[in-house]
């Protein structure tokens, strides 16, 4: 049994524009999601300069999203989200060992209590722009998903193989690197590994979604990759159990050290900050994330 833990996350994004920017329209996936195992205790979101319009909406995946507009010319944009969450209470992680059914069962559409096809799962079974269905990815996944093998065992195997086969290499990829390139270069960051795993699962007919959030790592060591930065991992649906989250970057199940922000089909659905503005010249972006473990 895992004890619930409390975290405080401070996520700051700064843009500096060479020329003044105006007519800025932004969308931020920076509100930690309420889930059965994660409770949002407080959330503070501030934007400088002051937006002229600001609201919260729910996106198609049920994530809460900040939207804001800035009209006045500005040369810098600071977006700060500070949240406190409790993770672990209400989680059913103990029962996960029960997911030892044949993985092929997860390829069938699931029905909701009303007898309808569960569209939330079907939505994550088809390829998306950043995590497409690919023959190469199916080939990579096939090694782990042998005939008659258990679902959890196969999933953990794929999770571990990605960790072994791919080198974590900051700067080797960009936010737009396609999965097919990654399969050749074998280096990338957490976002690439998540896209690869999603692509691999979808290519053999399993539903998978992209989860964006943070990972807590103690101290300053590099023992766990992704600490003090945005992190990304994968969730796949186990029939009869629900969505199970895997972190291929660290070869483990994503449980109480993981703070979930939002999920979608791939990065494009849940990018922390996304938008357009009017302006000229270049822009500099800096992001800082601090995750603190709180007592109690």
């Amino acid at each position: 049994v895992i004890d619930p833990v409390r975290y405080r996350v401070t996520h700051e994004t700064r843009y500096r524009y060479d020329g003044p920017a105006t007519a800025s329209r932004q969308r931020a996936h920076l509100i930690p999601r309420q889930t059965p195992w994660q409770h949002l205790l407080s959330h503070d979101f501030s934007v400088s300069p002051q937006p002229c319009e600001r609201w919260i909406e729910i996106d198609p995946f049920g994530n809460s999203v900040h939207r804001f507009s800035i009209e006045a010319p500005h040369e810098a944009l600071l977006v700060r989200a500070r949240s406190e969450v409790r993770v672990g209470a209400g989680a059913a992680w103990d029962c996960i060992a029960g997911c030892d059914f044949d993985w092929q069962q997860a390829r069938r559409p699931q029905r909701t209590a009303l007898g309808d096809i569960d569209l939330e799962i079907e939505l994550c079974r088809v390829g998306s722009l950043r995590a497409p269905v690919l023959a190469e990815a199916a080939g990579y996944a096939g090694v782990s998903f042998g005939t008659g093998r258990g679902w959890l065992e196969s999933m953990l195997d794929l999770n571990a193989r990605i960790h072994c086969d791919f080198a974590y290499d900051r700067g080797s990829t960009t936010v737009g690197t396609p999965v097919i390139d990654l399969l050749k270069s074998r280096r990338g960051v957490c976002q690439d590994f998540a896209h690869l795993m999603i692509s691999a699962l979808r290519s053999i007919g399993l539903p998978a979604r992209y989860v964006s959030g943070y990972i807590f790592s103690e101290g300053t060591g590099q023992s766990r990759v992704g600490g003090h930065a945005s992190h990304a991992w994968v969730a796949s649906h186990a029939p009869g159990y629900g969505w199970v989250a895997f972190d291929p970057t660290n070869a483990k199940l994503a449980q109480s050290e993981f703070i979930t922000l939002a999920w979608g089909r791939d990065y494009a659905d849940v990018a922390p900050l996304r938008g357009v503005m009017m302006g000229r010249g270049d822009q500099q972006l800096s992001v800082s994330v601090v995750v603190d473990l709180l007592a109690g």
Binding site: E53, D59, S69, L119, V126, P272, V276, M277
Partner: protein, 644 residues
């Protein structure tokens, strides 16, 4: 998913219809049924999703289709119709039956041509049954306008509808322009529109105008860089929100393109029975053989879908936009187009000023010894030419310098490069905004550079031609028609540029030796063909000491220009929001011309100071116009996304 930019239908020979009466009634019934069915399917896909939940349609068919827009699910559409215009490509099989080869549910290509085309022979009218075909193209245009709500006047005037196009890079751009023309709507691009307060606005000259309806000629996924594909810069940030809230009517509704991938066709017979309780009339053409097709269009009307008479879509050649300029009067002018017009005016005047300066320099050199560079006139002219970067600061001032300044296209501010920039801008305006471009832009002559090694007199002759060809344009008085507004903006650009150049010339003149000053200033302004240059005093003083007659209202004089600029700016801001008006008026204060009036003090330091302020003021005014009046709603620009 098929691109909407594929070919519009070519003029069609109605030959394949053997028995027009019988065939046509089948076609019209089939198309109307299909449009109804597809609209119902869209309604379900973006509403209750029962077809997907029950498995009647495989979810992967839509979730895997980029045209199915998730953020639109659960939203409402004004009027409840999603499929406003529909078209199907029909082929006739050997057995005489008609089959559907393609459905067009997003922005049926060729709609403009179908609406503009001559009505085909009206076979259905000979039958006793009530026809499902609209009588004439005129009626069809009215029906489309009614569909867009353009026939209803609201409290704040008639509703504004725009045709949203990706721009001239699309093959179908002429089609979009035609549609805009038929509907008498502005043709806009994504950056002309903006969203705030949950509504769509057109950044028009004179302020933001609420947009009530959008005829969308853009792919679904490109319509909103925030909620849809983020790498598309064509769309309008926030359009999806407005669509969901129902504050703007979009025809066809966002997301309707997901039915264009022929994947749904095999399911239609079942769905027709299930949703309409009818048998499907027109079946899919499954064979790969490509038969000639006709495209039949349908429009949603209050009585249900009706077929357009323009199956034989014969294209109509583009008319001279001035033919019916008056009809465009009430149309707001997109700010982006206004900006092009303004810069056209400035470029035009810059070319004229440079050419005048070069001509004066060539003349002053020609009347003296060719290498006498320090002649009274030559030196200030050279300084002036350096100030406007016509010649470079370290360039030796030999007798070829003026020739290089005239013909060298490599230097950014050389005359030939400026003429080319002017041409390029005119070309872009003709291409992008064919409906509002004034005649003068359309007929701009193209100049070839002066021959290399030409004599001074050849060069002078060439310069005179350039000046003559450019300076008579836009001297006509602007009226309030759309072309008049365009002409006024060009004139404003010209006046501002001219004031900038003349004040610079006066500053140089005041610093230079007084001897011969009036002569070369005269040369800068006098037209080569002017019979009596003496009637054109230098714009600064017109000092009666010179004993020349003075025309105080000559258009080249600074204070006359300043008055005209003031009038034009006040006119342009007349309907704008108060704080824009007040900043415009403040900027105009700087154009205080009392010291530049004829008969005013000839005290040179005072004059120098006044001219300096005028010069700063006029460029500040230009910046203000640029920032406020001409700013498009949004320039396409993406945030850089944080990498992990």
């Amino acid at each position: 998913v098929k691109s909407i930019a594929s070919d519009p239908p070519e003029p069609f020979d109605p030959g394949p219809i053997s028995d027009p009466v019988e065939d046509w009634s089948v076609i019209e019934a089939g198309i109307v049924q299909r449009a109804r069915l597809l609209d119902r399917i869209l309604d379900d896909l973006y509403g209750a999703q029962t077809l997907l939940k029950s498995g009647a349609l495989p979810p992967a068919l839509f979730f895997g289709n980029s045209g199915y827009l998730l953020p639109l699910q659960g939203g409402r559409v004004p009027g409840g119709t999603r499929l406003h215009c529909y078209a199907a490509d029909l082929v006739r099989r050997a057995d005489g039956s008609w089959r559907v080869r393609a459905d067009w549910t997003q922005a049926p290509p060729g709609l403009g041509r179908a609406l503009a085309g001559r009505p085909r022979a009206q076979p259905a009218r000979t039958t006793a049954s009530r026809s499902l075909t609209i009588d004439s193209t005129t009626d069809a245009v009215s029906a489309l306008k009614a569909l867009l709500g353009l026939d209803r006047a609201e409290g704040d005037g008639p509703p504004l509808c725009v045709v949203l196009s990706p721009g001239p890079s699309t093959e179908a751009f002429s089609e979009h322009a035609l549609l805009a023309r038929l509907l008498e709507c502005p043709l806009v691009e994504g950056r002309d529109l903006t969203v705030f307060e949950g509504r769509v606005w057109l950044k028009a000259l004179g302020g933001f105008r609420r947009v009530h309806a959008i005829v969308r000629q853009m792919d679904d996924v490109c319509c909103d860089p925030i909620s849809l594909r983020s790498d598309s810069l064509q769309g309008v940030a926030g359009l999806v929100d407005c669509s969901r809230r129902g504050t703007v009517l979009i025809a066809n509704a966002l997301g309707s393109g997901c039915l264009e991938s022929g994947a749904i066709m095999p399911f239609l017979p079942d769905l027709a029975r299930r949703m309409l309780g009818e048998d499907l009339i027109l079946h899919a053409h499954e064979s790969a053989t490509d038969l000639a097709a006709i495209r039949v269009f349908a429009l949603a009307t209050p009585d249900g879908y009706r077929i357009l008479p323009g199956v034989t879509a014969v294209g109509r050649p583009f008319m001279d936009p001035r033919d019916d300029a008056s009809r465009s009067d009430a149309l707001p002018l997109p700010a982006r187009v206004a900006e092009d017009l303004f810069w056209f005016g400035r470029y035009l005047e810059r070319c004229v000023s440079s050419a005048r300066l070069l001509r004066a320099a060539v003349q002053s050199g020609a009347t003296r010894c060719d290498d006498l560079v320090d002649a009274f006139a030559h030196r200030p002219l050279a300084e002036l030419a350096r100030c406007i970067q016509l010649i470079e600061s370290d360039e030796p001032l030999d007798r070829l310098a003026w020739m290089r300044a005239s013909r060298d296209t490599g230097r950014a501010f050389g005359l030939m490069a400026q003429l080319q920039a002017l041409d390029a801008l005119a070309e872009r305006m003709r291409e992008r905004s064919p409906l509002v471009v004034p005649w003068e832009v359309n007929t701009l002559p193209c100049h070839s550079p002066p021959p290399e090694g030409a004599s001074s007199s050849r060069l002078e002759g060439w310069l005179r031609e350039v000046i003559a060809a450019l300076s008579e344009r836009f001297e006509c008085a602007p009226d309030d028609s759309a072309f008049g507004v365009a002409a006024r903006i060009v004139r404003l650009g010209r006046s501002i540029e001219r004031m900038g150049f003349q004040s610079l010339a006066l500053q140089v003149a005041l610093r230079a030796d007084a001897r011969g000053r009036d002569e070369w200033l005269l040369q800068l302004y006098a037209s080569a063909d002017d019979p009596e240059p003496a009637r054109w005093p230098p714009p600064m003083m017109g000092d009666p000491r010179h004993g020349r007659s003075i025309d105080p209202n000559h258009p080249a004089r600074l204070h006359v220009l300043a008055l005209q600029v003031r009038a034009d700016v006040e006119w342009l801001f007349r309907n704008d929001v108060p704080h824009a008006r007040s900043s415009a008026l403040a900027a105009l204060q700087a154009l205080d011309c009392d010291n530049a009036r004829p008969g005013a003090s000839a005290d040179e330091p005072v004059l120098m100071d006044a001219i300096g302020r005028l010069r700063t003021g006029v460029f500040d005014l230009s910046d203000l116009l640029h920032q406020w009046l001409f700013r498009p709603a949004r320039a396409p620009r993406l945030n850089r996304t944080p990498a992990l």
